[in-house]
Amino acid sequence: MKYKFNTGKELIELCKKHNKKIYEIMLLREVENSEKSENDIFDLMKENLYVMKKAVKKGLEEDIKSVSGLVGGDAKKLKNRYEKDKTVSGGKMLKAVASAMAVLEVNASMGQVVAAPTAGSCGILPGVLITIGEEFNIAEDDLINALFTASAIGLIISLNATVSGAEGGCQAETGTASAMAAAAVVEILGGSPQEALHAAAMTLKNILGLVCDPIAGLVECPCVKRNAIGTANALISADMALAGIKSIIPFDEVVDAMYRVGKSLPVALRETALGGLAATPTGRSIMNEIFTK
């Protein structure tokens, strides 16, 4: 297999050897593995982009309530603020954050989304990419390419660690989504493959150890807000990498550290709804309320 890679190091070597970007290597790898044509694969990814766009729009414009009633409507609140007021963290940032929250709210209402890499973290990549796409006038094809960049990062983490909250905590889910988004933004804005990996590494480092403690076990609270903060994390790390800031610990070693941290988290903090916020008096009383309804 000419375009096979299991680690960040191998990916960078392939990029150098063939003088290609990460998204090109990922696309060629997919062609090689699936025996589908480049066009067919590209069109499949385009469908994912469209589902993402639809979910962002729905969450920002419609009145959403989750099945349990716990979340919904926060994306719209934030949209109101960045459209009307002078904000603390900036309009572009908040637009991406609100978009990410919108997708998570659609997900919690049993609406259609694209897992990226999971449903619990499905807001970050569309929130980041669709906003950057609009703000920087990025062509649709380039946004689709960016999804291939993102999937290369997710692939390496899936191969060497985990993207499951039940196995590695929230750091594995939203951490991976943010790393994917950060690398994609770097590449879309002209950064090198190495800079994209620095962005991914910094993003994961920033969120190392984050537990998965959803109230009542639902992908609602704190997931919507953790997608918000994951979006900010991705954007800041992308800017750091584009400014030439490097991750002192290489990407592959950060992935390994994330996995080891995840493995050492107690079961109560890995999507079982037995610890953390889920085990607070309020968390427990919400759970009782939902399950006796």
């Binding site: 659609v106 694209v114 993102a150 899936s158």
Partner: protein, 223 residues
């Protein structure tokens, strides 16, 4: 090392809220449904770990049932599956239990078909909607449904594997991965063959009819 497609990382397109607890559960259900030929009179879902703790909130129960009825994880009807199953007269039950040293998101299916035949299947949802089946009728094995897959239940004796693979060779089916499992020498054995080519039900019928020591063949072209 497992090989993921870009569409396993960004994907599946699905109904929320959880890729492992909703989409993965629907996929596990669909494999169970396919193995039972969607002929289900009774089904018990034994839920382990995070599945047992949080299934109500994630709609894992609705997703498992939707899958067993043949729905895809992106089907908007998924949330109504329990009602649909009731209307079809399927007898179902969800039980919280401990299945031992398995992945936290694991389910055991006890299926009874209309002819009384029973099928037991254990599978795990390993993250991002990806799954693996780890046990069929008490026998440990492993496959992911990522490739067209044939599972044979046959009598363990010299030459049986050659008979099966010869038919695949004749139909120009390339074998990607193959594993053989058995309980005891000369007794029931299972073979899992994952291929690069789509498999026609006709081929499976031919295999079943021409090799009499094959007791059962299950075919899963894709999940």
């Amino acid at each position: 090392m497992k090989n993921y497609s870009a569409f396993e990382i960004i994907g599946p397109k699905m109904i929320g809220p959880s890729s492992s607890h909703t989409a993965g559960a629907a996929r596990l259900g669909r494999i169970a449904g396919k193995i039972a030929n969607y002929d289900i009179k009774k089904v018990k879902f034994i839920l382990h770990g995070s599945f047992s703790k949080t299934y109500k909130g994630h709609g894992t129960d609705r997703a498992l049932m939707a899958g067993i009825l043949g729905m895809r994880e992106s089907d908007e009807e998924l949330k109504n599956s329990l009602k649909i199953a009731e209307e079809k007269g399927i007898d179902f039950e969800f039980i919280e239990d401990d299945l031992g040293e398995v992945h936290p998101n694991t389910v055991k299916f006890h299926i009874e078909k209309s002819n009384g035949e029973e099928i037991q299947l254990i599978g795990s949802s390993i993250g991002g909607g990806n799954i693996k089946i780890i046990e069929i009728n008490g026998l440990r094995l492993e496959f992911t449904g990522q490739y067209p897959t044939i599972i044979t239940r046959h009598l363990d004796y010299p030459g049986i594997i050659a008979k099966i693979t010869k038919i695949l060779a004749y139909y120009k089916i390339n074998i990607a991965f193959m594993s053989v499992y058995r309980q005891d020498k000369g007794q029931d054995a299972f073979m899992v063959i994952e291929t690069d080519n789509k498999l026609e039900p006709k081929l499976i019928e031919y295999m079943k009819n021409s090799i009499e020591d094959i007791k059962n063949i299950y075919l899963i072209n894709s999940i």
